[in-house]
Symmetry: C2
Subunit: 409 residues, 2 copies
């Protein structure tokens, strides 16, 4: 098989001054690095990004860090020293993009606010992710993924219909926000080719959540009520089947999704044929979608009779050939499915400390190819190299900075 | 208050030939329109995008359509007529970006595949969203949001710990995929300024889901097992409190999230102070995170004692001033919260048929401003206008196309 991987280089020559940590900011600069930018991650000289060491006993970088910092370079700088701060400002002069997601007010207190950096470099695209927007009563509050998902409405529409709110498993508050900032950075970068002008970009995690639940807002605007939770079904209703059905094995994820679209009346008879129940085609209990809403319990019994005797993959193979259907796959199954590695979507990387680590890459194919992953840097791994590349600093000066504890390597 | 709204114009002068429908593709071109591109949505002459009419009895465009097609222009073309197809190819010559999300193989059967359009216009950035990737055993299968969420792992990590998988409420399979395509389009557009070369971009909804669940993959790589479901908590563990607590009112969304970060040992005593339980500071049952894991039930009781007597907003105000905390807000509350309108994140638009409609805009602020929304077009509203602007077509020829039923207006 030909190698699917490449460095796409769309952003070659673009320099990113990366003061992010944890996920909302790092997930944004992660993609900039994947797309070819030179992302210099500035970390404190003691422990670096707290995302490196999530557990108290971790001696090595957590998979969490590996997943959001591949293809970047790490430079350590003591931001509490005047010389350290000066270095970051010198780097800001050379940067195209600046990105941070500290607690509200922190970057400004450090003396690296937009006011300061845009004077040093009027062309800089300066991005900030916070929990709540400027002008929100909670603008000064801290937020983590789950807080954004509580306040941003995503939890209210997730969970069983008669149960309490659940947090969607995907970290939409973090990565879901990061990708909206990323998009805006790229559009601003495009515009800057004409104007040379930088811009101040800000996104709040709470506000970002609204972008992902527009269907539920649409529903609310029709009903005048809160959009409900609907378990595995769609909360905007629709006729059955639109749910998961239990499969052989009986494990927590031995389920298969079966859906017949409202827009495609041929789905229902096709499904009946696929599960060997042609005898029910034309049965008035099920023949219109209104009838199917009324006889949902019987429909569920008919489908379960088929699915419960077969494993989820067989169900997906048979039903999915006829109507939209999908096995509920868990993270272990997905990570170890060779098809993702064959297609380059999951790649094993060799981390110098952690060893082999399987991670996902940017899922979009560019002329058939995907981004080739490089392992995340160890703390300060590229300090001297970045000082040289960005600031033209010689080995002697770099060594002095280390001796003065301004940097580490 | 000064007007926060603007047309950012980052993509002014960029032409998007938009053959998308429903959500995964439309959500992508929606943002291109918001950022200033001229998005010409090509629809069939009969009913247009099926997303306009979701219910059988809908006479007007559904909020679903309004939410994904604002700031675009609609042109109707009969793609089954040779002249209609020719018009779309003429438009492709003038387009910077092409985007589609038909069923697998459909656009190629129409004669508008990448092979064809890249010959007509070698600079075209050609984007496709499908359910499954090329080389996947399911590459020819249909997919909708829920199928992508079943097969892409997001459902397996969503729901109560002892319950069945739930579908995350956000339409991550659709909008979550669209935004990854969008990002890649913008990076390719940037690169094209140098090279003039177009590119073929493809993303699968299943693959896109992996981007949003990297923490759970990281967890799987540590445990060698599937990442679990954890209700409202984080499935990667962590010490309590990290959950929702019931508030006064007792409604389905009368809950408040309370979180004390592992990285911030001062959060726990701060929380105790906020809820009037300074007496518990230093209590050995709760004094380390290991102790708090062991005494989770007692912690829950202490917090519930406070939250159950106050409404969720009061809880958020008091607790959120001390540690990360957030009320679980529903879509009706969010849509009607004046703060979002004051900040321009939600804007009322005047739709010519539907009347006033409140909708969300792109949540990223650009120099303090947000995108100003214009209502989605009625079917064929801009047919003649687009033919004139894109192809220089005169009124007479446009009228003849209508008479020949190639277009409508």
């Amino acid at each position: 098989m030909t190698d699917l991987k490449m460095a796409p280089g769309y952003l070659n020559g673009i320099r990113v001054l990366d003061l992010t940590q944890f996920e909302a900011g790092t997930s944004c600069t992660q993609v900039l690095a994947w797309l070819g930018a030179d992302v210099a991650k500035v970390e404190n000289t003691t422990n670096g990004d707290p995302g490196r060491r999530l557990g108290p006993k971790n001696k090595v970088d957590d998979p969490y860090f590996l997943n959001y910092n591949s293809n970047k370079r790490s430079i350590t700088v003591n931001l509490k020293s005047p010389r350290g701060l000066e270095i970051v400002k010198e780097m800001a002069k050379k940067a195209d993009i600046f990105m941070e997601n500290f607690a509200p007010g922190a970057i400004e207190r450090l003396g690296l606010g937009y006011d300061v950096l845009s004077k040093i470099n009027p062309g800089i695209i300066y991005g900030q992710v916070k929990g709540f927007g400027e002008g929100s009563p909670y603008a000064k509050n801290l937020a983590f993924d789950m807080i954004a998902q509580a306040c941003g409405g995503t939890m209210s529409i997730t969970g069983e219909a008669d149960g309490r709110p659940c947090k969607p498993g995907p970290t939409l508050g973090d990565t879901g926000t990061g990708v909206l900032m990323l998009t805006t950075i790229l559009a601003a970068l495009y515009k800057r080719k004409e104007t040379g002008k930088g811009v101040h970009l800000q996104v709040a995690m709470q506000d970002a959540m609204l972008h992902y639940i527009r269907n539920s807002f649409g529903l609310s605007s029709k009903t005048g009520k809160a959009a409900p939770r609907a378990g595995a079904a769609s909360n905007s209703g629709g006729n059955p089947p639109c749910n998961i059905y239990p499969c052989k094995g009986g494990g927590p994820n031995d389920w298969v999704y079966v859906y017949t679209s409202r827009g495609n009346p041929e789905h229902w008879p096709r499904l009946l044929e696929a599960i060997g129940r042609k005898d029910l085609i034309g049965d008035p209990r099920f023949d219109t979608r209104e009838a199917r809403v009324e006889h949902e319990a019987e429909i569920d019994a008919v489908i379960t009779e088929f699915t419960s005797k077969r494993d989820k993959y067989e169900c997906m193979r048979i039903i999915g050939a006829a109507v939209p259907s999908g096995a509920v796959r868990d993270t272990y199954e997905l990570m170890n499915d060779p098809n993702f590695e064959e297609r380059g979507i999951i790649q094993p990387i060799q981390h110098p400390v952690n060893g082999t680590f399987r991670m996902t890459t940017w899922p979009v194919r560019m002329n058939g190819k995907v981004v080739a992953l490089k392992p995340s840097p160890t703390l300060g791994q590229n300090t001297d190299e970045v000082l040289k590349d960005w600031l033209g600093m010689g080995a002697e000066e770099a060594a002095k900075l280390r001796a003065d504890k301004i940097t580490t390597a």
